[in-house]
């Protein structure tokens, strides 16, 4: 086992230490709650001289933060940024550009609700809204995984030459104290090779990057982008396996089933709620209920095969979503239903934890006991809405 630092630490500090050990050459971000502690910590590490010649740039907007990242990544520098919520939306145009240009930027998304009404607390509406941006999206269950996923993310992104979001629940993870092991720099060096860009802006070997492409080739360029993203379905679990082999613990991958092999009811969820969910499943199992869960780790690309394998034997599937698509309901459920096509397994969408509302064990117990319809809002305060609906 390589030497590690295991200590009680805030999630943001652990992620920052992990990011620092990946030796980014350019870090550029704009402050937004609850991402701030991560970038502050990375900046502090850089200021202390631990990142060599790494450039830390404080810019005037998230749009600029990702645009600077586009420039530095295209110039061959390992590049990191982070944002959340409105900031991710402000990056939107540049998100599509970074993925279209195939730039392996790593970005932490400290998941936070979108306004209006403005709300600084956690849900996953922000990264869900950017699901078609061409970025890979990984979701962490706890802070150990949040730290580990960043180390994996650089490797995955650079191997595929695609940008990647590491999605961590804002406050729930970023501001929570947990014991986390952060590998030593030498161990990370052994795991993560130096960045060898697939294309680079080099005056001695000049390329034109970002040309205008018309109808004669645009479909083909987009097709290749799709194929490249699908290739991540092989790379993500392989990198997770390599990580486990070297560091002796599991992190990442496509899906993580929990006591679901013989389960009749399986709950699929993304992110930190899986911790609470697994505790509730342990309780229910003790009482003889055949329940289990599946944590979806990779939302983009969506692992249809792995999801079908993990859920295909269930009597019913509950998709627990921390985002709402108004007018539709759930976001992830559509993909889950496609993965289960033809199996006749009923699915129930449960919208939960919007804008930071805690998803409690009691609520989850009730959810598992309830006769759910197609769409259910967990802990919805009917007294509040009924007044408005009858006005």
């Amino acid at each position: 086992m390589p030497a590690t630092l295991r200590k009680q630490v805030e999630g943001s500090q652990a992620m920052a230490e992990a990011i620092a050990r990946c030796r980014p050459e350019v870090v550029c971000a704009y402050p937004i709650t609850p991402q701030t502690h991560i970038v502050e910590a990375v900046s502090r590490i850089a200021r202390a001289g631990r990142l060599g010649t790494c450039e830390v740039i404080n810019v005037e907007s998230e749009f600029a933060a990702l645009s600077v990242s586009i420039g530095s990544s295209a110039a061959g520098a390992r590049t990191y940024t982070a944002t959340a919520s409105q900031g991710l939306l402000f990056m939107c145009e540049a998100l599509f550009n970074a993925s279209g240009l195939g730039l392996p930027i790593v970005m932490t998304v400290a998941n936070r609700a979108l306004g209006a009404p403005i709300n600084i607390w956690n849900d996953q509406s922000d990264s869900m809204a950017m699901r078609d941006s061409g970025w890979l999206q990984l979701y962490a269950i706890d802070n150990q995984e949040a730290a580990d996923l960043h180390i994996q993310a650089f490797k995955i992104a650079e191997e595929l030459s695609l940008p990647i979001m590491v999605c961590v629940d804002g406050f729930v993870l970023t501001h929570a104290m947990e014991p986390v092991e952060v590998p030593e720099a030498e161990a990370v060096d052994a795991f993560l090779p130096p960045f060898a860009p697939r294309q680079v802006l080099d005056p001695d070997d000049p390329y034109t990057i970002g040309a205008m492409v018309g109808p004669e080739a645009f479909t083909e360029v987009r097709y290749l982008q799709h194929v490249q993203q699908l290739a991540a379905l092989e790379v993500i679990p392989r990198v997770a396996a390599e990580f486990e082999a070297q560091f002796g613990r599991r992190a990442g991958g496509l899906v993580e089933p929990y006591r679901s092999e013989d389960a009749e009811t399986i709950v699929l969820a993304l992110g930190s709620v899986n911790g609470t969910l697994q505790e509730v499943i342990d309780e229910q199992r003790e009482q003889g209920a055949a329940v289990g869960s599946v944590a979806l780790k990779s939302y983009r690309p969506f692992p249809f095969h792995a999801v079908r394998e993990a859920l295909g034997h269930a009597q019913r599937v509950i998709v627990l979503e921390r985002a709402l698509a108004p007018g539709i309901g759930g976001v992830v459920v559509a993909d889950v239903e496609r993965a289960l096509a033809g199996l006749g397994i009923p699915t129930h969408t449960v919208i939960a934890g919007l804008g930071g509302r805690a998803i409690t064990r009691r609520s989850l117990r009730e959810m598992l006991a309830a006769d759910l319809g197609d769409l259910h809002f967990l802990d919805l305060r009917t007294d509040v809405i009924e007044k408005e609906l009858t006005r």
Binding site: E55, F63, A64, P203, D204, I209, A211
Partner: protein, 364 residues
């Protein structure tokens, strides 16, 4: 995967020189042949870099294509070929890179309309991180990409004093999308979104958005304006800008025959009239203070500049709109007073052979 516009050939600074065909009769370039090689303009240099090659899709008489070639060739020479360019979306980007072709013989990236200054910052940061301070970075775009949608990124780049030279090729409107009004469109001008109909004739009179002055307010090391009528001046200013580190800004007036409704052989003359009328002051500023102006040599009334352009035709149709022309004249007169364009004092200077000699003395 990326829309990679094909690998361009290496520029000639690091390979065999491309011999210059001296077909530019009547220009400074042909005059440059009479000079010693070290005194010649970049364009008459037999080893000129040729940043953007012929074959691009710019309109006939395009001022931007002309300005960009002179500016970037000069920058390439100043950087000894070690140059990377970030280009905003716009005419220059579209006409130079129709996939799978590219006119750029240099490392070049296009990302978005509003982020060229930030992309340039990122490239400069990467070069610094890698210890490649010999590689210089230019950001460039049209007036829309610079004074409007890219302005936040531009101001941020200035404020941080990032090591980037940003060049704005100002044709005073959104020409690529069909001649709509931009923040740099002059008052009274007709565009597709400011038709001379109704109560207001063409673009409104606002307070103006003078980005060279705004750049100076950031107290960046170097700011200059230029036009394609004085290409030696443009070369000189780019060369000068490359002598500085930190944020630098050059604003080049580039007439657009399509958008201005002018003859394709009038682009250079109109650029000259813009300067000689006082509507477009040509100056340099170091550290936020004006250090030199190009004086008006033969002052002309603004009408002489406005009349050849169909975008101002409504000012002269029928009874005309003399009060609007007077307001524009007042604008020009204010520039003349503000910058001392008619003073011809010690600060002011003519750019001619003496300048070439001065450049040579500085080892440029």
């Amino acid at each position: 995967m990326s829309a990679n516009g094909g690998k361009s050939e290496r520029h000639e600074l690091s390979g065999q020189p491309q011999k210059v065909a001296f077909y530019q009769t009547g220009t400074f370039a042909v005059g440059g042949r009479l000079l010693d090689e070290e005194l010649r303009s970049v364009q008459s240099d037999p080893e000129r870099a040729n940043a953007i090659t012929k074959g691009h899709r710019a309109c006939q008489g395009c001022g931007e294509a002309l300005g960009a070639r002179y500016a970037l060739d000069a920058a390439l020479r100043a950087a000894d070929g070690q140059l990377i360019v970030a280009n905003a979306t716009g005419c220059l980007e579209v006409f130079s890179t129709p996939y799978p072709e590219s006119s750029w013989r240099m490392a070049w990236i296009h990302s978005l309309f509003g982020n060229a200054p930030a992309v340039a910052t990122g490239i400069a940061a990467a070069m610094r991180a890698k210890g490649r301070t010999d590689v210089r970075v230019i950001g460039q775009g049209g007036d829309g990409g610079t004074v409007d949608i890219g302005f936040g990124c531009l101001s941020g780049m200035f404020e941080r004093n990032d090591d980037v030279l940003y060049i704005c090729y100002d044709n005073q409107g959104y020409m690529n999308t069909g001649v709509q009004r931009s923040g740099a469109t002059p008052p009274a001008a007709r565009t597709a979104t400011t038709e001379p109909i109704g109560q207001h004739a063409g673009n409104q009179f606002g307070q103006g958005k003078n980005v060279p002055l705004i750049a100076m307010a950031h107290e960046i090391p170097y700011v200059a304006t230029a036009t394609v009528a004085e290409l030696r001046d443009l070369e000189h200013k780019v060369t000068r800008a490359m002598e500085y580190r930190g944020a630098r800004y050059i604003h080049v007036l580039v007439p657009c025959p399509l958008g201005w409704g002018s003859a394709t052989n009038e682009a250079v003359r109109l650029a000259r009239l813009a300067k000689e009328s006082g509507l477009f002051p040509v100056f340099e500023a170091v550290g936020g203070a004006v250090t030199s102006v190009s004086p008006i040599r033969h002052k002309v009334p603004v009408e002489e500049y406005l009349r050849p352009q169909k975008r101002f035709a409504h000012l002269f149709a029928g009874d005309g709109m003399p009060e609007i022309v007077e307001r524009l004249q007042a604008h020009a007169d204010r520039n003349i007073a503000r910058f001392g364009l008619l003073d011809g004092g010690e600060e002011a200077r003519e750019l001619d052979l003496l300048d070439a000699l001065a450049l040579a003395e500085r080892g440029v």
